[in-house]
Symmetry: C2
Subunit: 415 residues, 2 copies
């Protein structure tokens, strides 16, 4: 007993505790700084995207400028990008190999290009921009405070957390997302404190700027029984394959662009043209921009049966040819509409399957099952916890090593 007490108070232990408290304080400080800046920039991003979406919807003619916007975006990345065009993958590579320095300008550039994409009708979301801004800001903090090499990566991860948490108003999922997205099958707990702080501070700062996030409501959750569980497992596999289909198609569009249209301006121009042609071919503008009204419809009513596929193609072309924004809201769109469509087939409530689809497609595409599960708890207030848990894990398993982030490292094979 005495030895136990003395162990607690001897000098080595005291020094260790002092180091612990010092390290902890600097993480809290850096995380807070990152959170404050990222939360503010995310608020700007969301408000401006909302505004640009209104402008676009009021002026349908803007769509015809999408190819021109593509040229501008291509030009910016070609001449001013300093390597930042690799976007999220650059951040992942930087964390893995200390390769591909993160340029500070990455954040402002991706914001500008996201605004152009939103105004002109590209099918895109927001978290790519928020995350890249978060990483830029972290890199700024790194340079300002001359942070050492190992801690640099950790701060950049916390920038990802801050970006995600503030972009979606989900600080819990944001915390985990940074740690989980970097390596498939491994959670980087050493980044826990700065991720937690950056994500929460980022969220509260964005809220303080008046940001209100979308609310989607599950109207009823089916009872848990064997048949329903089997249905959910089957559906989760379908959602998982949808995520794979999207990831593969987007990578394929990019591969073809790299091969046949090396010029970034040309490929985005062509991408813009294809989006215009597709829009007029199917005669609907529902797949342009973020498409939040359609996600709402998936929770409240019914959506056209193949809308998930339309969004999948629109987004793969938009993102694959170099437009900017993010893929999470489009993934939510695909999952929610597919869930809605499948609800009449399997006889489960549409709003519940819309929610399940959103989360499962997200889990499969990002390979972050725990973040996806926590996201479902935050978005749907703890409803249907067992189903969401199963859906996240099954979708993660079945998406194999496919996913939207080509530079995610594989820590251990999933099975």
């Amino acid at each position: 007993m005495a030895s136990l007490i003395s162990k607690f108070f001897n000098t080595t232990t005291r020094i260790r505790h002092k180091t612990f408290i010092l390290t902890l304080s600097s993480w809290v400080l850096w995380g807070s700084i990152i959170g404050i800046i990222v939360g503010s920039t995310s608020a700007l991003l969301i408000n401006f995207n909302d505004f640009l979406t209104e402008v676009r919807e009021a002026n349908p003619v803007t769509l015809f400028f999408l190819p021109i916007g593509g040229i501008v975006i291509g030009y910016i990345y070609m001449y001013y990008g300093k390597g930042s065009r690799k976007g999220n993958d650059l951040i992942l590579e930087h964390i893995h190999h200390e390769q591909g320095k993160i340029p500070l300008r990455m954040g402002p550039i991706v914001f500008l290009c996201t605004f152009i994409t939103h105004l002109l009708g590209g099918s895109t979301g927001r978290e790519g921009a928020a995350i890249q801004m978060g990483a830029s800001i972290s890199e700024g903090v790194n340079r300002l405070f001359k942070v050492n090499k190992i801690d640099r990566s950790i701060l950049i991860i916390s920038g990802i957390s801050g970006g995600f948490g503030s972009a979606f108003g989900t600080p819990l999922a944001g915390t985990l997302f940074g740690m989980e997205a970097i390596v498939i099958g491994k959670t980087k707990y050493e980044a826990l404190i700065p991720c937690l702080v950056a994500s929460f501070v980022g969220h509260y700062v964005a809220t303080a700027w008046g940001i209100e996030h979308e609310h989607f409501i599950i109207k009823s959750v089916p009872d848990i029984n064997t048949i329903n569980l089997l249905k959910i497992i089957g559906l989760s596999i379908i959602f998982s394959f949808t995520s794979v289909m999207y990831s593969q198609l987007r990578h394929e569009v990019k591969r073809l662009s790299d091969k046949y249209m090396k010029n970034l301006m040309l490929r985005a121009f062509v991408g813009g043209i294809i989006i215009i042609v597709l829009t007029y071919t199917i005669g609907s503008r529902d797949y342009l921009g973020r498409g939040l009204p359609m996600v709402e419809r998936a929770f409240d009513g019914h959506v056209p049966p193949l809308s998930f596929l339309a969004k999948l193609v629109f987004t793969a072309i938009t993102m694959g040819t170099g437009f900017r924004g993010g893929e999470v809201i489009p993934l939510f769109f695909m999952g929610a509409t597919l869930g809605n469509t499948l609800s009449s087939v399997v006889g489960l409530p549409p709003s519940f399957l819309a929610a399940l689809g959103m989360i499962a497609v997200f889990s499969g595409a990002t390979n972050t099952p725990v973040s996806a599960f926590i996201l479902s708890m935050e978005m749907f207030e703890g409803k249907g916890i067992t189903y969401f848990f199963i859906a996240c894990l099954i979708s993660f398993i079945f998406s194999g090593h496919h996913g939207i982030y080509a530079s995610q490292k594989i820590y251990e094979p999933k099975s």
Copy 2:
């Protein structure tokens, strides 16, 4: 596009998919077998513990036989244990180093000794027994199906998941617990499918055997604001230190026993005597056995201010001198009573702090923050999600590399 489709259907891919489906099916099969057996044994464990607790409470004289019970337990482990007395740590060592073969008899022996401990009033829980039975059963499946080396460890992890999920009626936390408990700071995702299957099947089988788990209800959750968040952070640090105090005291009791009382019968005999003396010194039998009534009181009313400390000492002596059962329910007891006590100090609702304390102490002692968080979602129906999330992470960080499992490997330092 064509290359994309052909990629999906070429032979290598087809073989890979076939292997995937075969591997998956065997995991589901093995996980189910383990789940069915573990679920049944957990049901037996819980029912028998309930029965023995009733017998003990109706016959206070049983406590005087605790030292004799200790001799019996010591005798069993000395002459029939085949190394299984290291309990949970043996399982962890086996998974890490393929060392310390898991004897099939570990399960039956730990059950018998848990029953003796419960009947005679040792302060203990159940999950140690459930987990060790799970591991034994997995080892049985391993030998029966001649599973290869890597997969053996994975199956044993799924035995842990099945044991935890069925012992507490929390299949989600059970799934994660197996994967998270093995290595601090690393989740073993490769064990995901068998853990998921074993934990869910285990839980449903135990339910089918008529097991009903304790329900603790949070009456009100405080609003989220800066002051409350700071209070929760402070409290989480206190809960974390409580978990460290318990882990250290138990390891210290064991160390002293190893040093001064090499004979297992002697140390448990002495442990039994100390428990009797303590019981009559403080004049209360509340700290014997599982102590579930006191946990209920922590949610419904008020508990004596130092009851957490009493339970801490009773359990450290019981477990440190070789009695059996588990430490999770005692940890719940410490956290819930301490939370209840602190509620009047910080001015937050007692039932809420009881719940928070349970989860935070568990997170710090087991070093499984995500499982602890999910456990809170399962036990308290998604109430207070933000607070629980913060409490689990803070408690995990502040418990450092201390914890109840001495053989937990440290993957990466926490900070």
